[in-house]
Symmetry: C2
Subunit: 335 residues, 2 copies
């Protein structure tokens, strides 16, 4: 069967997603929603969405019976509202990360999806890339022994612009939700939910976290060190260190095309391309189709949740982000 | 003038130091001290120390008037005792790192050196290597802008051997004092004394810290992430990230021969060899002569302290180590 997708939002990631849909034989982009007629039409024109499915409100998109599943690509300050809107209209949802502004919102979204028996997943697309699949395989095989630490960071220097979403506290700006979620999600994938967390960082002039370091501790003795920044360009790499070796994810750690694996004295470089022919670096590094294929497989199987990016884990990572934010004195100004 | 050195101890680092002395025109190794006649003689034979200066007690070495300055190369569990012995005998001292078991011991040693007006320095030899000198120059020139983070780790997998010094709690075993001191000293060199510290880690079967992560926070908003391990081989690299670029220290971060500097979009690799012709990798990576030359310059100038590795900073780093150790529940079994 072919899945008919609707996309809520018309930003950069929505464009990348639409590109990826266009290259999957069993996926179709059939509808788009935007608050703006102009943007809905431009996006619809670009991606071949019929005029009557170019909606100028998210409510209209939610009511579109021609849609099998909705991808929520609005700013994360609106993920809670929009995800609930689509779920309550009976649509399965793939919701862009950060999944929500806080764990409370995330739990709410999960509760509604479960109550309604509708598929919901955080669009943590890294999880489905060949490199990440391989990391899980290598860990399961014990190739690096017992994991002692996960180090990961994602930081890019953005020009300080109070008008930009990234520096807007009310929109959940800052480094944590946009970038920090990747290293923290990787740590969660490898080590699970931390038993203790300490975060130090810097709030910028607009009150958002411009640079944050999060140290996670596990009762097993393992540790995870994560950093995110919108003020400085970090290595954007990751390293998983075990007693018998390590796995290194090169720049950019959230969508690598290769892994370096050291195991018992032997170093190997594995080529694991994320992109398909035709994918461009512009579409978030290419490789969004891996996630889409996974969602479609789960939907096809009648599942309401991913077994790779579970909802419980999404909420747990959100809780880690909440704790880190509390510790550095950041609030998004909500109650 | 030529400086006449005595070495207390005959272990690996003592050998490396003697090698380095042998290649400096204005330095002489004139005396050695050991608890063992056999080791004192073997060391003396190897490095041309006259039989009457091959002492079989540290007290005898301290009483040797032919010695201008003593290098303390005993295990760090004995640094306090031996440094005080030599200072109280009127000898200037260069004391191997870790400088002491804790900040109390370190402060004690510093107090005696100051009271007696005698030179004392922690043998943090990294500080004097060309790469480290260059790091300080680059930072002073603002090449990477405002420093946001220091990431550094040093970890090597050692076979778990309860009989080995590294796994002996009473001798100050574990990763922190042997290896962790390097990344933490680098962080201190770049950012100063942290305003807050959190450490998580693992104690092994013998009760020593086998893997530790230390997150340091500064009121400026900067952070430092350090790791040490005797259980897993870490990257052994360092990265100093600023708003305008970064400086990377490759493996091994405590004695690199090059630096990678990214500044405002331009990447440059700087060659900064630490070794002299004839230095071998066996002598702790080569490059101990840089430190020796610095000590001799300070002694020649009549100074009682280094301006590069100050005693206050040595005590402050020791205090950081104490805090980290307390937080992971490690005690060396002293009162």
């Amino acid at each position: 069967m072919s899945f008919r997708w609707g996309i809520a939002g018309t930003g950069a990631i929505a464009n990348g997603f639409a590109d990826a849909l266009g290259r999957l034989p069993d996926a179709q982009l059939v509808a788009v929603g935007s608050r703006s007629r102009e943007r809905a039409d431009a996006f619809g024109e670009k991606y071949g969405v019929a005029p009557r499915h170019r909606h100028t409100s998210y409510e209209d998109l939610a009511a579109d019976d021609g849609v099998d599943v909705v991808y929520v690509a609005s700013p994360h300050s609106h993920h809670h509202e929009h995800t609930l809107l689509f779920l309550n209209a009976g649509r399965p949802v793939l919701c862009e990360k950060a999944f929500a502004l806080d764990a409370g919102q995330a739990a709410d979204m999960v509760a509604v999806s479960r109550k309604r028996g509708l598929f919901l997943m955080e669009a943590m697309w890294s999880r489905f890339l060949p490199a990440y699949v391989k990391v899980r395989e290598l860990l399961a095989e014990g190739v690096i022994g017992e994991v002692q630490s996960v180090e990961a960071d994602f930081g890019l220097r953005f020009p300080a612009d109070p008008a930009h979403r990234l520096f807007d506290r009310a929109l959940g700006g800052g480094s944590l939700l946009d970038l920090g979620v990747y290293p923290l999600s990787l740590a969660s994938m490898v080590l699970g939910t931390p038993d203790r967390i300490t975060a130090y960082g810097t709030l910028g002039p607009t009150g958002v976290d411009e640079h944050v370091a999060v140290l996670s501790g596990y009762d097993s003795g393992a540790v995870a060190l994560a950093q995110s920044s919108v003020r400085a360009t970090l290595g954007c790499t990751a390293r998983i260190t075990g007693t018998e070796g390590c796995i290194e994810l090169p720049f950019l750690m959230h969508c690598p095309d290769e892994l370096t694996v050291q195991s018992r004295g032997v170093t190997e470089r594995l080529s694991l391309p994320a992109a398909r022919e035709g994918d461009s670096g512009d579409t978030a590094g290419g490789g969004l189709h891996h996630q889409i294929r996974h969602v479609q497989q789960r939907l096809h199987a009648g599942e309401t949740e991913s077994d790779v990016m579970t909802l419980d884990e999404t909420v747990a990572v959100m809780r880690t982000l909440d704790t880190a934010r509390d510790q550095i004195g950041l609030s998004y100004g909500r109650t």
